[in-house]
Symmetry: C2
Subunit: 399 residues, 2 copies
């Protein structure tokens, strides 16, 4: 009655594993500022629930395995604004970006196959890749360099004969790093040279600040057969609980193979697809206001962080995360202290310790990821709590 | 740019792969009786949509990774009627029974590990097991024996040192075979003797006919640490499109490990869990009427099948499927003929060819699975079309 080696090798999500402690704390009446998870407080556009409330079929039946055709069409239309020309066969609806990633790795990786990933990375990539018995080959990035990883020499250093793909999150989670057109070109050329797949997780596409361009790897004709784009309604439309994402790819062979797994799991939830269709149909101007709001939150968060003595961080260009180095030895220890011992006006704060965002042993122990998903005043207060918490932690004799 | 061996080894779902042809046929105005998929025409209880329409949170947020606590509690209460005493830690909500099975196999199987499965089996088990690089070890069953597989000697024959688990669907899909208490005892003892996990997919629990008892492997105290029960709202509540299922298990080590994957994929859709909570709260008397209806459909279907010359089938005791042997060499060829060439009053019929339900090469080519999920008169007409289609197929010179 053993368990599989793969599941035993997995870690508990560093983003979610402290939630049970937080739940206890909140049950005791303490307010916790949740900066640990990318759960925005922006209201979900009302068209989502309106569309669902309008659903009037008497039998809630299985949907098509690739997804409701009307949702596929809405996604095709959305991508037209990025000059991408898709057909239904190029779009597979999934249960969130998470299922999309799982399906991709299961379809591409043999046991021991390697995936190039910039670290720190969105920690659940490790779980998805381990589920397919694959291995992460990290390209370490640094706050001081703006977490840049599209550097030919550094990519060349980690490529081996077992490398199957390079996996990108752009704009980046957890670093907020955003690729320039030149960076994207470097990655496309690298992938061609080594015959690699490019997995481009672009769920934060619209969260590009300071006038940066919104892009997609799907716009590069010369790599169209090797690019797999991941999309999702979670962040863009503040609809994380809908669990609707998709795989977009012009490689017919890949799509027909991944469809075999998709048919096995039957389909995504019908109602959520009805709601998601309405979301994808929103006018692009919807994002302008949202973007302005997040840009403001980023600025407020960054300024508040800079006030904490000894903290190291750079202003990110996209997504809604900041990764920074703390003036303590263990970000996990500090978090447990904040949850269990520290209170300021009966409030405390929670973040994601970054150690689980690194594949290289020893890195990230003193780093954290903050998601700036609360309104500016709450971000300021949450980060103020972090600063006060660090002070109290040190005053209590911790390093 | 290769694909993984595992995905290339997978088959296209024999239940769904002919759907594109059927879609063309229907677009041309021909009526197709879909007996290929377990999609009931029973109305989804209205409490489902009512609960969802009542959802009034402004932000559709991520839910807890194990599922909404209120849904866990509703499931715990449901299982109490089967004298099972569960806690929240024993219940993990999943995106349908499909995700539940995927998570279980990923958590238990190392590459090459074997799973004992009675064949013919629900074909997607092969896909789920292949996704975890596991191997099906089939115990062949026969219509003439009522598809019985709980026979110690036959199970002993397929067990090896690589056997990790025995996987049961009870009541059975695609055979309709239902285990007696004696059968369940045989399987429990066998699992204990060989130290195997018991995966008990019981999504058809209430579909037990002719006064047969509704059971669960979760009722057997002496195997409580090795039993993993799969449940789902799809069939029981005619809510296939909701994609809500669960894993139920009293083994804390297993549950803590599978939770690592569950945290990686974040959560199930919030709204569907709200609706599912209402479904699990329905009074058990709800099933009595549903059961009577299916029993009637089974009887009508069975009688109609018996009228087709040369067909071999037995009356099933549970679920809503009949597997039978056809008087033709290839059930797939016949199906393509029915879809592309045969028409009666501009109508035709679709079923699932059973070859993909067998692991043993050569078996099942002349067999099909019918789902009696349409109302009795439609079942009778669909099966009449099958009979007429076979006649036309033979008249056209096919064997």
């Amino acid at each position: 009655m053993r368990l599989s080696d793969r599941v035993q090798a997995m870690q508990n999500s560093p983003i979610r594993k402290f939630n049970p402690i937080a739940a206890e704390v909140k049950a005791q009446g303490t307010k916790v500022y949740h900066l640990n998870i990318g759960q925005p407080d922006i209201e979900t556009p009302s068209v989502f629930m309106e569309a669902i409330k309008g659903f009037d079929q008497k039998v809630l039946a299985y949907a098509e395995s690739p997804g409701l055709p009307m949702l596929q069409d809405a996604i095709i239309k959305y991508f037209k604004t990025f000059n991408m020309d898709l057909e239904r066969k190029d779009v597979l609806i999934t249960s969130g970006g998470s299922e999309a990633l799982t399906l991709v790795f299961l379809s591409l990786l043999n046991p021991g196959d390697e995936v190039i990933v910039a670290e720190p990375y969105y920690t659940n990539y490790l779980t998805f890749i381990q589920a397919a018995d694959g291995v992460i080959k990290p390209v370490t990035t640094y706050a001081e360099e703006g977490f840049k990883y599209a550097i030919k020499e550094r990519l060349e250093k980690v490529v081996t004969e077992k490398t199957k793909m390079i996996s990108i999150v752009n704009p980046g989670n957890p670093t907020g790093c955003i690729l320039s057109r030149e960076d994207m070109r470097v990655i496309c050329d690298f992938a061609k040279e080594h015959d690699l797949w490019i997995l481009a997780d672009e769920v934060y596409r619209e969260f590009a600040y300071d006038g940066r361009e919104m892009t997609s790897f799907g716009q590069y004709e010369d790599v169209a057969d090797r690019v797999i784009v991941i999309d999702s309604v979670s962040k863009r439309f503040s609809a994380c609980g809908a669990r609707i994402g998709c795989i977009v790819c012009k490689n017919d062979e890949f799509m027909s193979q991944v469809m075999k797994i998709a048919m096995g799991r039957l389909c995504c939830p019908t109602l959520e697809m009805v709601g998601a269709t309405a979301l994808y149909g929103l006018d692009p101007s919807f994002f302008d206001e949202v973007r302005k709001e997040y840009e403001h939150r980023r600025d407020v968060s960054y300024e508040a962080l800079k006030k904490i003595p000894g903290i190291v961080c750079e202003k990110p260009g996209g997504a809604f995360y900041i990764t920074c180095k703390l003036p303590v030895e263990s970000a996990e220890d500090l978090l447990v202290f904040l949850l269990k011992e520290f209170r300021d006006n009966n409030e405390t704060v929670m973040y994601a310790p970054a150690e689980g965002f690194y594949a290289t042993p020893g890195l990230g122990k003193d780093e954290l990821r903050i998601a700036y998903i609360l309104k500016a005043e709450d971000m300021a207060r949450g980060i103020e709590l972090l600063g006060k918490g660090i002070e109290a932690y040190k005053a209590a004799g911790h390093k």
